[in-house]
Symmetry: C2
Subunit: 246 residues, 2 copies
Amino acid sequence: MSDQASFFRVENVEGRGDAVIVCEHASNDLGGADDALGLSAELRHAHIAWDPGALGVARGLAAAMDAVLIHATASRLIYDLNRPPDSPGAMPTRSESHDVPGNRHLTATQRQGRTAAHYVPFHAALFSLLARRLAGGRPTALITVHSFTPVYFGARREVEFGIIHDADDRLARAILARDTGLLSRLNDPYSAADGVAHTLALHATPLGLAHAMLEIRNDLIATPQAQRDMADRLAPAILAAVKECL
Amino acid sequence: MSDQASFFRVENVEGRGDAVIVCEHASNDLGGADDALGLSAELRHAHIAWDPGALGVARGLAAAMDAVLIHATASRLIYDLNRPPDSPGAMPTRSESHDVPGNRHLTATQRQGRTAAHYVPFHAALFSLLARRLAGGRPTALITVHSFTPVYFGARREVEFGIIHDADDRLARAILARDTGLLSRLNDPYSAADGVAHTLALHATPLGLAHAMLEIRNDLIATPQAQRDMADRLAPAILAAVKECL
């Protein structure tokens, strides 16, 4: 897989913490796509291309928790790693109210090429990492870090911190129970029923791992400093919750 | 993964059928283990080392259905591909009423080595194969082929053909509804609740694939001819059931 490894990165691989942190929407890099998928410069920096601020928070959490972090280095508009290959959202032709011209009329071969270059190596690497931990008897919680737009299809979202789970709700509820000073909700602004928890369904549920998908409203993490502050705010709650569940 | 590929094999990779067939317990080869795990020659050929007859049936089904087949080439006593790495059954110290001396006192590093050599490459290859099909828009059902011993812990099993499912029971029920002339039962002699459906949970459920785990009583498939006959008997039922579910 070495020729494909450039679309994801693993950091702090020797981390001794109990969590594995994942950031599928870390990057808005469209360098791997012809003509930047036909998007304007403005859209390339908008939330449709990535989860702004999520990587900074994920890195802060990984540092505070001494956790390994795996993150994408290409935009989710090329391939959304949190969607299976047959999902319309994997290589979307539309996102919110914007067309993605470069994703119209993809052939089966092109879809297979992006899947082989982005989706398969990322998830194979995460799978390998998790399997190694389990074989070594290491307690492991899987935490994915995302951000969401404060205004979606014109509607303002009040929630600041959403915690989403797949089949096992223990870790999500344990995080929710801690005071972070944020307006926090379970399975909001979306839930696994919306098909947004694919990474958790693919890895955490079949391996029986405690898990949570963290969704932070992106206006709260717009700068590197705000991302560090958010990580500092969340880390104690998440560390305590992970400890409770393992 | 090329250096590890010797512990599994993919056959009929260009198959045009709608099924992907998996045989995790195809082999009783202990060549990769020191001192054959300390087992007697008799035990090395017993059902604890593999699923006798399963590969012959799986090959017959793959031929009849023009399906790709992926199967193990090492014994499940080295690594049981249908178990996660933290399961006691992945590298069992006991199987039915027999000790497996070579699996006692495995270190974390040894467990990680077997996991990296057997479990990870097998499932990464299956995942890659399934992802490619989904990206190409190909309908796909996942079928795993197993055999079970007619006498287990001294008790005789009457069932001849067990059909097991994970979260989605459609394909299993559709196969059960067809007449194969066998004494057939759903989720018998075990079910997903016993942790025996890991391959289905790892691949079929998160990818939303129709799926079934076929369990054939091994006294019915003791010879190559009996395996071919069983495949011929089952193939029409399975083909029809797959067609119904896709």
